[in-house]
Amino acid sequence: MSDTVRFVVNGEPRSLEVEGRTLLVHALRDGLGLTGAHIGCDTSQCGACTVLLDGRAVKSCAVLAHQADEREITTIEGLALDGELHPLQRSFVENHGLQCGFCTPGIILTAADLLSRGGSPSDDEIRHALRGNLCRCTGYQGIVESIRAVEAAS
């Protein structure tokens, strides 16, 4: 059985036929071709599929596509504006926040949620916020520095 879901993805209204069981990550990747939401595990632990749902970071592999109906979704593809990298994206480039890059979309979107809450997160708070995102290359130090650099610049 499939039904139509409608959501706003990266600012554009989109609609899609999905099954009841379809996960949001599959709707985004296979239905809309937004492959920036990565699938790094099968157990909702790695965070590589993180997207923003109504501005909050969620693991799109732990959300049914139907649950996102009529909501706003931001994927990594929607973060740069008019060809200009988002400050987090630029900071990850400048501060060696990535190596292989597989976990990076999820980490940047989680960080976008964290920084949108205001305040000025400490390194411990940044690390606490990143608990749901696994990186197997960097040892996290470069990631924390990339996020801190954006926070300091803003």
Binding site: E19, G20, T43, T50
Partner: protein, 262 residues
């Protein structure tokens, strides 16, 4: 991984949700942070997923000497709860899962999922909370300890929904705390302890150590833990968990006492 085929329906109100849940093998979904992962593993194969996430059951408010927590309140919502005596709620919520899980995961979903290592039930037990539950034929109130009957098992019927989680406000001058030691990979509590200290009594509840979270017998924590039924598994033996339980319970109690200035 892809869940087994299922149908999806969005409930428009509680009565509609209860009607939809009349289908055998229907399952309610709120934040989905426990259900979707077990659907992916095909441990859960509901025929119908009833989405209750848009019902108006998310409010957190104090009324008549009680804190009423809508079952759809997320961990992120609960991290902002600030009321004298109820410090353990926000303290516990901030440490649950990860940021993404806290954005979607709900307290009602967690309680009825009844994972024996979930954190918040210990807090609800220590604070003496109850669940208000509705079915097509009426409503009833269940103390949390009577709701939790075994691993992933509650005393709720298939057509019952939690509509309110009610925490009595502790007497002025009380304080509470939550402390846990987590398995480093899964993040689940090896031992979690919630403590409530009032002027005339102390209550400690443990999670992660038995078939369900439970309230420790009154009196000395060491004696109570020595006499409690504690299980071991491949991550932590019974002996290790029992020793750790004493440490974690004493830390929670110490912080609750410190908060109340005793």
């Amino acid at each position: 991984m892809i869940p087994a085929p299922t149908r999806y329906a969005r409930a428009t109100d509680v009565a509609h949700a209860l009607e939809l849940l009349g289908e055998p093998d229907a399952k309610a979904i709120a934040g989905g942070q426990s259900l979707v992962p077990v659907m992916k593993l095909r441990i859960a194969r509901p025929s119908l997923v009833v989405d209750i996430s848009r019902l108006e059951l998310r409010e957190i408010a104090v009324r008549d000497d009680e804190l009423h927590i809508g079952p759809l309140a997320t961990w992120a919502d609960l991290a902002g709860v600030s009321h004298p005596g109820l410090e353990a709620i926000a303290e516990c919520a901030r440490g649950i899962g990860d940021l993404q899980v806290r954005n979607l995961g709900t307290i009602g979903g967690s309680v009825v999922h009844a994972d024996p290592a979930s954190d918040m039930p210990a807090v609800l037990l220590a604070l003496g909370a109850r669940l208000d539950v509705r079915s097509p034929t009426g409503s009833r109130a269940i103390p949390v300890e009577e709701a939790l009957v075994g691993p992933f098992t509650t005393s709720l019927g298939p057509q019952e929904l939690v509509t309110d989680i009610v925490v009595p406000l502790p007497a002025p001058g009380s304080a509470s705390a939550y402390e846990s030691v987590e398995h480093p990979a899964s993040g689940f509590a090896l031992v979690g302890a919630a403590a409530l200290a009032t002027s005339d009594a102390e209550t400690v509840a443990l999670t992660g150590v038995g078939a369900t979270p439970f309230v420790l017998a009154a009196g000395d924590v060491r004696d109570a833990i020595a006499g409690a039924e504690i299980f071991g598994d491949r991550f932590a033996s019974e002996e290790y968990r029992r020793a750790l339980a004493v440490v974690v319970a004493e830390r929670a109690l110490a912080r609750a006492r410190e908060r109340r200035g005793s």
